[in-house]
């Protein structure tokens, strides 16, 4: 590397504002398609990649829509009024919100992203982000079905998932605070907006009560012009349009990271030989680590991953299956990329380390306690 090239590599953007990530992804996808066109491996990869994207698309859209609605219809004041005054209580409630709003990990990211912009404390945001996809009734039901209606396993997964989400949420709140967030949680005050449907930089309240959407002026109308009064329905229609624009932006932003993460996940799904697990199955500590690595690599939806975990019954100890069930919904390759739309890299590294550490601790405790669950098919 030349001395001139090093500063270029350190920059996150290429000339012209191009993103390294975009260019590398497009190059990798092009190379894979052109070099392996028609081969069984690449055909299987294409099938799995498409499957991951099609499976997540409805939920990404739903999450983006909720995020758009939050952006336009929920003000910081309303958010503050909704939250308990005691921060730990807010975190405790957020970690269990999945019981009321059961969402998978793909849908929760855009929602949390917008809610943090509305003043949701980072600790509560992290708790909901991690707890929502595990501690929810749909995931509990699918876990029970996968384990032949053994509700103890479903309850154990949901309970431990809740505790892990709560712990990491509190840790992030205490150690990193709002600095964990990509925009420091202060985008509204600064007037910066991640969306691009406003034609010029301006300070606007994203409740959009003072923007063109409400007053009748189109975005981009002459500053200072007095807009004609509009009816309540017309104002509402304008705000719905704003929400849809935010939904589009959200879907494109989060979806971009998702398709990259799913690409890596599909590579692992296609080329990783699960039979290799048998080599470590006899040693619980290695089996736990291997199943955790598998959870990160496979990027399964939390509503379906229990069936894959259950297929390892009788091969790896229950502690390793549990580690798979706990880690997958909070940390995998696509989530690592999607988290970049919400958190700073330092915070993502902390989240990843804390998730791995806590799941490892829990799995080791379950192994040492000799919990007699999930032993055989």
């Amino acid at each position: 590397l030349t001395a001139e090239a090093l500063p270029l590599l350190r920059r996150r953007r290429l000339p012209g504002g191009l993103s390294w990530l975009d260019v590398a992804f497009l190059a990798a996808a092009g190379a894979l398609l052109s070099l392996g066109y028609g081969s069984p491996g690449v055909r299987t990869f294409a099938l799995l990649y498409t499957s991951l994207v099609l499976e997540a698309l409805p939920f990404l859209l739903l999450g983006a829509l909720v995020g758009g609605v939050v952006e336009v219809f929920v003000s910081r004041e309303r958010m503050a009024a909704l939250l308990p005054r005691r921060r730990w209580l807010a975190v405790a409630i957020a970690a269990g919100l999945g019981v009321v709003f059961p969402v998978c990990e793909c849908a929760v990211v855009p929602v949390v992203r917008r809610m943090t912009r509305k003043g949701l404390p980072v600790a509560a945001a992290v708790a909901y982000l991690l707890g929502g996809p595990i501690a929810n009734p749909i995931v509990a039901a699918s876990t029970a079905v996968a384990y032949r209606f053994d509700w103890r396993i479903a309850a154990l997964r949901a309970g431990l998932g809740y505790v892990i989400a709560l712990t990491i949420g509190l840790l992030v709140g205490r150690l990193l605070g709002d600095e964990a967030l990509l925009d420091g949680g202060s985008s509204e005050e600064s007037g910066e907006c991640s969306c691009d449907h406003h034609p010029h930089p301006h300070h606007h309240n994203h409740e959009h009560e003072r923007t063109g959407a409400d007053t009748g002026s189109t975005p981009g109308s002459v500053e200072g012009a007095v807009p004609p009064p509009r009816s309540a329905w017309s104002r509402f229609g304008g705000r719905v349009a704003e929400a849809l624009h935010h939904t589009s932006d959200e879907l494109a932003d989060v979806g971009r990271y998702f398709v990259m993460g799913a690409f890596i996940a599909a590579l692992a799904q296609t080329f990783l030989d699960r039979g290799l697990l048998l080599a470590v199955a006899g040693r619980p500590s290695l089996a736990i680590l291997a199943m955790m690595a598998l959870a990160v690599a496979l990027n399964l939806c939390s509503e379906a991953d229990a069936f894959v975990a259950a297929s390892f019954q009788g091969m790896v100890p229950f502690s390793a299956q549990l580690a798979f069930l706990l880690l997958g919904p909070i940390l995998d390759l696509k989530l690592l990329l999607m988290y970049q739309t919400v958190f700073r890299r330092r915070a993502i590294a902390f989240l990843a380390a804390a998730s791995v550490g806590l799941v490892l601790l829990v799995a080791a405790a379950v192994q040492l306690a000799g919990v007699p669950l999930g032993a055989a098919r």
């Binding site: 953007r13 975009d22 099938l47 099609l54 449907h197 799904q269």
Partner: protein, 278 residues
């Protein structure tokens, strides 16, 4: 000129992405092509998503975006179209033996029967079937041709020792309730594949019949399979061919565990089912 075009494309990039994805979804839903990728229940969800994308497309078309935007944003939007390229390449692809070899961990095993069903003496008819199978010579390989409707011999001629009706089951049922099927003549539909472990354990006439069970999408697919120990003089079955396997269901205690098998199995070619996954 080119710069103007790029600016327009950049401004309308979301709309372009939504058009592409809405078109793909419409096509997948109308042709039921989505069944190769996700569980059948996803059809409704994808149809709703299609409508949602149309709404966003409408909002994009009639909403305003700044005229001048960095063209790098167009490149970012292009990443959202990469899955479309791979979707085109995945046409006609199914999870098959290639995926099986990476997802199947050993031969299919099950738990011992609660009342030791496999240790019970077989019924007289089943015992006759076992004797017949034991006395069979090794198969004579022949080419495997999908049989014409009139080509396959009647079932009676193929299994003269069989008794009772044939129970049509799925491989998932074999996985879920193996003990209730022991000793019965069952028929399953799946893909055939030669398998080294199966041959080592049960001889040269053994292969596996498998299928994938999908909960949400092909990414969470798990193989379910049964070892088919074939009767004599059957054609060689190419790997990943869809077959209907018929035989007497047993649980064999082996060095690898208790393995479900179809003894005296007959395999016939089958067209691919409407939903390739269970």
């Amino acid at each position: 000129m080119i710069r103007d075009l790029l600016l327009v494309l950049t401004r309308r990039r979301h709309g372009l992405v939504f058009v592409a994805w809405a078109g793909i979804l419409l096509w997948l839903v109308r042709t039921e092509g989505y069944r190769s990728f996700v569980a059948p229940a996803f059809g409704t969800l994808l149809a709703v998503t299609y409508v949602g994308l149309l709404v966003l497309l409408f909002a994009e078309t009639y909403g305003s975006r700044p005229r001048e935007q960095p063209i790098a944003r167009l490149v970012s939007a292009l990443t959202l179209l990469v899955p479309v390229l791979f979707l085109a390449h995945a046409q006609g692809a199914r999870l098959n033996g290639y995926a099986l070899t990476r997802r199947m961990v050993g031969l299919p095993t099950t738990t011992p029967p609660p009342t030791s069903a496999s240790a019970r003496p077989p019924s007289p008819a089943a015992a006759r079937e076992q004797e017949r199978i034991a006395s069979m010579p090794d198969e004579v390989p022949a080419s495997f041709m999908p049989p014409a409707p009139e080509a396959p011999p009647p079932l009676d001629a193929r299994s003269d020792a069989a008794s009772g009706p044939i129970e049509e089951v799925t491989l998932r049922e074999i996985f879920n309730r193996p003990h209730s099927l022991v000793g019965k003549r069952v028929a399953v539909v799946g893909m055939a594949r030669s398998h080294e472990d199966a041959r080592r354990e049960f001889g040269e006439r053994a292969l596996i019949v498998f299928r994938f069970v999908v909960s949400c999408c092909a990414a969470d697919a798990r193989p379910v399979s049964v070892v088919a120990i074939r009767a004599q003089r059957q054609a060689v079955v190419p790997d990943d061919a869809w077959v209907r396997a018929e035989g007497v269901f047993r649980l064999r205690d082996t060095s690898q565990g208790i393995i479900p098998v179809l003894e005296g199995a007959w395999l016939g070619a089958m067209p691919e089912p409407r939903s390739p996954y269970l």
